[in-house]
Amino acid sequence: MIKGLEKYNSNKSPWKDQFEKRKANKHWLRKSQSIALSILEEIKSKGISQKSLAEHIGVSPQQVNKWVSGKENFTLDSVSKIELALGVELIWCEKPKDSSLDLNFLFDALINQSYHDFAQEYLSYKVGRLSKTRKKVSKTEYETSYSMDQVSGIPNLKLVA
């Protein structure tokens, strides 16, 4: 025991409680983080400040700050307001109709559904063609197939050059 350290033993770090909260809420936090990132990228690309977005929607700047932190449990009402203000779709519920899907959708699906480790690995492999020119990659260049595992819900992406 280090002498003098005992006086700090009543100060408990909040880390453990915060960790458990993050773990318990992991699933919706991922969705919140994904929405937050979309908002951040949208306002930065359009040169909109968080303050002006707040004024446009009619909420406080603190509220917008909560949204972009990726820790907010969004309501559909607030998502809709942000979508209308930014002119983008932040969440969608459509299921893939067939196996020949747009690559952007596939990557977004992978990233949004927390399979970015796979996406990263894939991007690293195909980076020269996909990183900057994702939109230029088309079905004519790659044979694509996409399916969703019915049990795990994990998207399965196959691309053959």
């Binding site: 003098g4 350290l5 408990k12 770090s13 909040p14 960790f19 990132l37 990228e41 972009v68 990233i111």
Partner: protein, 189 residues
């Protein structure tokens, strides 16, 4: 440099975390709070976009970097928690030396690593008597050397600041001080 205002317990007698005047939380809680904050991470990677655009990171997008960090952070704190719950914080961490030039002569400088993968998250800690760790801070290491990023240079200063603080406030053998870098790539359970 920000003043040390408090010390918090993560695990009694083995793991403590330092709080600085300009931070709302103790270092450990602050790190994982930051690493799960999309705005904080987006700003960080926007600042270091040039590094992500290097060949080493294969022109990684900011969005991918943010998601990678969040994923690694979750894994990191999972492992850390499991290690603490099993009472193997000390034995469970494998340490690797920080470069000698980055610490003073009487410090044993080390890093600790986890199971696999390429993590860029780091937690820095000082160890007293080979048993008690004090987390001084951490960061996202995008370069080979800490000195190549101002954020990590600041972390080195904090390590030395905490070392001096511990020397002033506690009684222990000076030769028992060690400085450690922990990441989840080689955090062995």
């Amino acid at each position: 440099m920000s003043r040390i205002v408090n010390i918090f317990v993560v695990q009694e007698n083995s793991l403590y975390s330092v709080q600085y005047e300009d931070e709302e939380l103790d270092s450990l809680a602050q790190l994982f709070d930051n690493w799960s904050n999309t705005e904080y991470l987006h700003d960080y990677f926007e600042k270091h976009k040039d590094k992500l655009e290097s060949d080493f990171y294969n022109n990684m997008s900011i969005k991918s970097a943010v998601l990678k960090t969040i994923s690694e952070s979750e894994r990191f704190e999972d492992l850390l928690n499991e290690s603490i719950e099993n009472g193997i914080v000390l034995d469970g961490l494998k340490f690797k030396n920080l470069s000698k030039g980055e610490t003073s002569s009487n410090l044993i400088s080390s890093k600790a690593y986890g199971p696999s993968g390429k993590s860029w998250l780091r937690v820095y800690a000082i160890c007293l008597s080979s048993k008690t760790f004090f987390i001084t801070g951490g960061g996202i290491k995008l370069t080979k050397e800490m000195s190549e990023m101002e954020e990590l240079e600041k972390e080195l200063k904090k390590i030395n600041q905490v070392r001096d603080f511990l020397k002033e406030n506690f009684v222990f053998e000076d030769s028992d001080i060690g400085v450690f870098e922990i990441d989840n790539d080689r955090l062995i359970l």
